[in-house]
């Protein structure tokens, strides 16, 4: 028999405390106030004092409101009935459909035993050369899109979701703008993917604490589907909002902040979510793409910084393009060895040259005379940007590699590329052949 309490001792931020007995750490309670009911989660116990964070926020809660402990931690219903449905961050229907109560599963479960993991091996083709050639996306990868507001990061997420061959898409919105949510829906609908999509959407207008649930709910559901053999793509947008919600709670709980007000455990908090990305041997997988907007376009800000240390690379979306510098897929070497033999060398070589192009560009902007070499680099950079970097380019990996050789041979001599001779002999476009090392 669960006890009901009618006296709230303190209310600060979104945290309330009550005196209660027999309560477990992490347990849920229901707080009923004049404004309706809200769930709350136990976040600290000390003697008979219980602190809870209230999902709908503490606004309007009075000291005489009722707190009823439920005797279990946060759960979400899991079944195929979730498909095509839209829920709030707290797991309540947002689409006028029925509330799902069957087969409740706990969220935020234990991590996968590293000994049970396997080396990721399947490339996810996106048709975007900056991803496929330079930073291949791999099934079970966790990867953020670093960006700033105004950039088309949600469009990019939706495009990848449409193009990637996955069984199921779960979209977790965290402080998502309503328009953006509609945008996702339209894209998925137009692509006929809505029936294999599940939305857990916390919008900017919803209570902050509720956003804390979104990654856990989305990933718990994803995990179950993956265990049943589904290849699941989880999209989270925007994880910076999630981190900010953590910060708010930490400050309310008077935790000593570590960096710009964020709690010292920000890394562990983010990691426990991102690490849910996995490839289950003999079953399905979870691939995780998350938007992380960088406050002040500053990658050293604690949120992108901690994220970068956790994820398996990142895509920088800037000026509507995926930047080659800073963007990284750490898993690419697991898959790009089996694509085409020139893939790796071309990927490294073209980026090195692009770095030189940037230097030449800088020299030019400072008014220096351009050497013959600089002029070549400038041409190279421009071709690279228009034929490969532009997000409108939608070609297969192989076409993109051929394009790479074309660009090189349009601007440079073979020995200027820094590429190994055997590859040049094989892939250098024949009509532009030039004897290698004639002057040596």
């Amino acid at each position: 028999m669960r006890k009901i309490y009618n006296k709230i001792e303190s209310i600060a931020g979104n945290v309330i405390t009550v005196k209660a007995e027999g309560v477990k750490y992490g347990e849920l309670a229901q707080v009923s106030s004049a404004h309706g009911k809200s769930l709350a989660e136990v976040i600290r116990l000390l003697d008979d004092e219980v602190s809870l964070q209230v999902f709908s926020g503490s606004r309007g809660i009075s000291t005489k409101d009722e707190v009823r402990f439920l005797g279990h931690p946060m759960k979400v219903s899991f079944s195929d009935n979730l498909m095509g449905r839209i829920f709030t961050g707290g797991g309540k229907p947002r689409d006028n459909g029925p509330e799902l109560m069957e087969n409740l599963i706990e969220i935020g479960g234990p991590s996968v035993n590293p000994a049970k993991r396997i080396i990721p091996r399947n490339m996810i083709r996106t048709g975007i050369p900056m991803i496929d050639v330079f930073n291949s996306l791999v099934e079970s990868q966790k990867l953020p899109i670093f960006s700033v507001s105004g950039e088309p990061y949600n469009e990019l997420l939706a495009r990848i979701a449409m193009q990637a061959e996955v069984d199921l898409i779960i979209l977790g919105g965290i402080g998502l703008k309503y328009d953006d949510y509609l945008g996702f829906r339209e894209t998925l609908e137009a692509g006929g993917a809505l029936s294999r999509t599940i939305f857990f959407v916390h919008t900017a207008a919803d209570p902050i604490v509720e956003s804390l649930m979104v990654p856990d709910i989305s990933l718990a559901v994803a995990e179950r589907f993956a265990l049943k053999g589904k290849r699941v793509l989880v999209l989270l947008s925007d994880m910076t909002n999630f981190a900010d919600a953590l910060k708010e709670i930490a400050i309310t709980m008077e935790q000593v902040p570590s960096n710009r007000g964020y709690p010292g455990d920000l890394y562990s908090q983010l990691a426990s979510r991102y690490e849910k990305a996995v490839d289950f041997e003999g079953a399905g997988s979870i691939t995780l793409l998350a938007v992380t907007t960088m406050p002040g376009d500053d990658v050293t800000h604690p949120v992108p910084d901690n994220t970068g240390y956790i994820t398996e690379g990142q895509f920088y979306l800037r000026n509507g393009r995926i930047e080659p510098f800073g963007s990284l897929s750490r898993l690419k070497q697991l898959v790009n060895k089996d694509t085409r033999e020139d893939h790796r060398a071309l990927m490294d070589g073209m980026i090195k040259l692009y770095a030189l192009y940037k230097e030449a560009l800088e020299k030019k902007s400072m008014g220096f005379r351009m050497s013959q070499w600089d002029t070549k680099l400038l041409k190279y950079g421009e071709l690279f940007e228009s034929r490969l970097m532009d997000l409108d380019v939608n070609i297969s990996l192989e076409e993109a590699l051929d394009q790479g050789w074309d660009i090189l041979s349009d601007c440079l001599l073979p020995e200027e590329t820094g590429l190994r001779t055997d590859l040049i002999n094989k892939f250098w476009p024949k009509n532009k052949a030039k004897a290698l090392g004639a002057e040596v």
């Binding site: 750490y25 116990l45 990691a271 849910k276 289950f280 050293t300 790796r344 050497s371 020995e415 040596v440």
Partner: protein, 596 residues
């Protein structure tokens, strides 16, 4: 066992539990929190009156006020004995593959399995006989453990002199069988098996003398071995922003380093990275032994989503195992990735304890804790004259990639070498991204120091010219300066940069390093018939190309030799003097023709 102490949970805050007990409680002892049908391991980290705080090595969800706490009166310890090599443990020495067999895909709370199960059997060969006198650390016999002769030693926690009362004859035994009985001065009999325990936070101190690390440890990474060497028994750190290449550098080091045993402490980083190691090592043959790499590796794995308190313990578990094998006269390399996650685990706990925070909320004792961890490295001499070493290399993940932060700074104060990774270099794909001008090492390397000094000076000048060119442009730079710049870029491209994913280039032996380095010296010393910048650039591009191809050839293969002669030809036709005279000049200029 005396009557055990018992307590009750009175508070839960994250992974910290407050407990009230009227019984005796020991600082840093292990306690179990009994919640439902689970017993969750925890460590006492503060005692105030009858209340103590414990850090719980598991998720604390579901713990309630009034749950029972059982104290063990024992410090957090690891089991030492044959059979550790090749295993994959979590931070508390739980064997993860066995946990997986029992629990499936997910880690389950409260499941603790023996690190060295009694089913393990080894053939014991006694080295001593009844009546012999022994003390702690003395070898009483050996067992074969893979490629090693594992020494069975008198447990390090048995102080005093003992007489061997009985010792088993040569045969196979379970590691838990009594193989020897010791008699102390009072006539008490102490049975010993092949296994004993040692508390992780206490350094193993059974040796005569700690020596100065002088002998180079070959990592096969050129920039490390040549410019910023590591010594056997030394310490080094690899700080760098995310994605700069810390883990890849450690991975290749763990494969190719010339040591007996590598212990990998994956501390709070990605699980996927450990998986690469634990799936690949059993397949990769170590050319030095002909056996798989796994047979010289132990993995301690407490990745970022595993409980934070166990992460803190994991580096100690790793270093204790390293010290244990050092006692057998072996050279151990401990690679910890990342020490910042360990420091953060301390920070989390310190915050929960409401200690007064230092910079960036790290505890005030951060520096001393880091210092005492690296202090556990060293090369030591035992009383029989043998030596053994523990070398520690730790990555550091500074917030914002800025080295002016507490963990990097505290680490730099105590290590012997600093391999600083730079974002600039990793963005430009100049891997390994160790910054050649900012890094340093206090150890002597395998390549002659005067040669290294000369090449470094060219590198330095090249960088100056580069900086200057950014201001005055290429046209404002003299051809001589421009060539210095090209030479330093050349050296960077063909020597400092090394392709971790190329089967040959990934590791360069010391012999090959010395050999190639001499070629570099000749080229840097040489004066070239290049009057025009475009021509000069073209020439060095070609030369770079030849060297890159050369780097991909097996040592002393026909292909290798053919590139060598191509390069020689190219030099001969472009130098102002004969190639031979450059070689002679170098021979005179550098007295030291390399060591060993």
């Amino acid at each position: 066992m005396s009557s055990r102490s018992i307590g009750k949970v009175v508070g839960v805050n994250g992974n910290m539990v407050t407990c009230e007990s009227e019984d005796k409680v020991l600082m840093n002892e292990v306690g179990y929190i009994v919640t439902g049908d689970k017993r969750l391991k925890a460590e006492v980290i503060r005692i105030r009156g009858n209340r103590s705080e414990l850090q719980v090595f598991e998720m604390t969800r579901g713990i309630g006020i009034g749950d029972e706490v059982e104290f063990t009166q024992e410090l957090l310890a690891v089991e030492l004995g044959p059979g550790l090599i090749g295993q994959i443990f979590d931070g508390l020495q739980n064997p993860l593959p066995q946990v997986a067999e029992k629990c499936g895909f997910f880690l389950e709370r409260g499941v603790y399995l023996p690190s060295l199960p009694k089913e393990l059997r080894f053939e014991f060969t006694p080295l001593l006989k009844p009546g012999d006198m022994v003390e702690r650390g003395d070898t009483i016999g050996t067992v074969p453990e893979g490629i090693f002769t594992h020494q069975i030693m008198v447990p390090f926690n048995l102080f005093g002199k003992f007489k061997i009362k009985s010792i088993k004859s040569k045969a196979e035994y379970s590691i838990r069988d009594t193989i020897c009985e010791l008699e102390n001065e009072k006539g008490n009999i102490i049975p010993i098996s092949m296994v004993f325990e040692w508390p992780v936070k206490r350094p193993i101190d059974v040796y005569q003398e700690k020596l100065k690390p002088t002998e180079p440890l070959a990592t096969k990474v050129r920039i490390v071995d040549t410019l910023f060497p590591v010594a056997l028994g030394g310490t080094y750190c690899v700080p760098g922003p995310f994605g700069a290449g810390k883990t890849v550098l450690q991975q290749i080091t763990s494969r190719y380093a010339e040591v007996d045993i590598v212990i990998i402490a994956a501390c709070g980083e990605r699980a996927g990275e450990v998986v690469e190691t634990l799936r690949e090592f059993p397949e990769l043959i170590d050319p030095r032994t002909g056996k798989t790499l796994m047979e010289r590796t132990i993995i301690i794995c407490n990745t970022s989503s595993m409980p934070v308190a166990a992460r803190e313990a994991s580096v100690y578990t790793a270093v204790t195992l390293a010290e244990y094998y050092r006692q057998m006269g072996l050279n151990i390399l401990l690679l910890a990735d990342s020490t910042s996650r360990w420091a953060q685990a301390m920070r989390e706990m310190s915050g929960r304890l409401e200690e007064i925070p230092g910079e960036e909320a790290f505890p005030a004792y951060l520096e001393s804790v880091i210092a005492s961890f690296y202090e556990r490295a060293g090369i030591v001499r035992f009383k029989d004259g043998r030596k053994g070493s523990v070398t520690i290399g730790g990555t550091v993940s500074p917030a914002g990639g800025n080295f002016e932060e507490p963990v990097t700074q505290a680490t730099l104060k105590v290590v012997g070498a600093f391999h600083g990774l730079s974002r600039e270099r990793s963005d430009a794909r100049r891997f390994p991204a160790i910054h050649p001008l900012e890094s340093w090492s206090k150890y002597a390397g395998a390549v002659a120091p005067d040669k290294v000094a000369y090449v470094s000076s060219v590198l330095f000048r090249g960088n100056e010219v580069d900086q200057m060119m950014k201001v005055v442009g290429e046209e404002g730079t003299s051809i001589d300066d421009y060539i210095i710049f090209l030479k330093s870029e050349f050296f960077d491209a063909v020597y400092l940069q090394q392709n971790a994913f190329d089967p040959v280039d990934a590791s360069t032996t010391i012999i090959r390093q010395r050999f190639i380095f001499d070629w570099i010296i000749w080229i840097l010393l040489g004066e070239f018939n290049l009057q025009e910048k475009n021509k000069a650039r073209e020439y060095f591009n070609n030369l770079r190309q030849l060297f890159l191809d050369w780097n991909g050839c097996e040592w002393e293969s026909d292909e290798f030799k053919s590139f060598e002669s191509k390069i020689k030809q190219s030099l001969e036709s472009n130098l102002t003097e004969s190639f031979k005279s450059i070689q002679e000049a170098a021979g005179k200029r550098f007295k030291d023709q390399g060591r060993g």
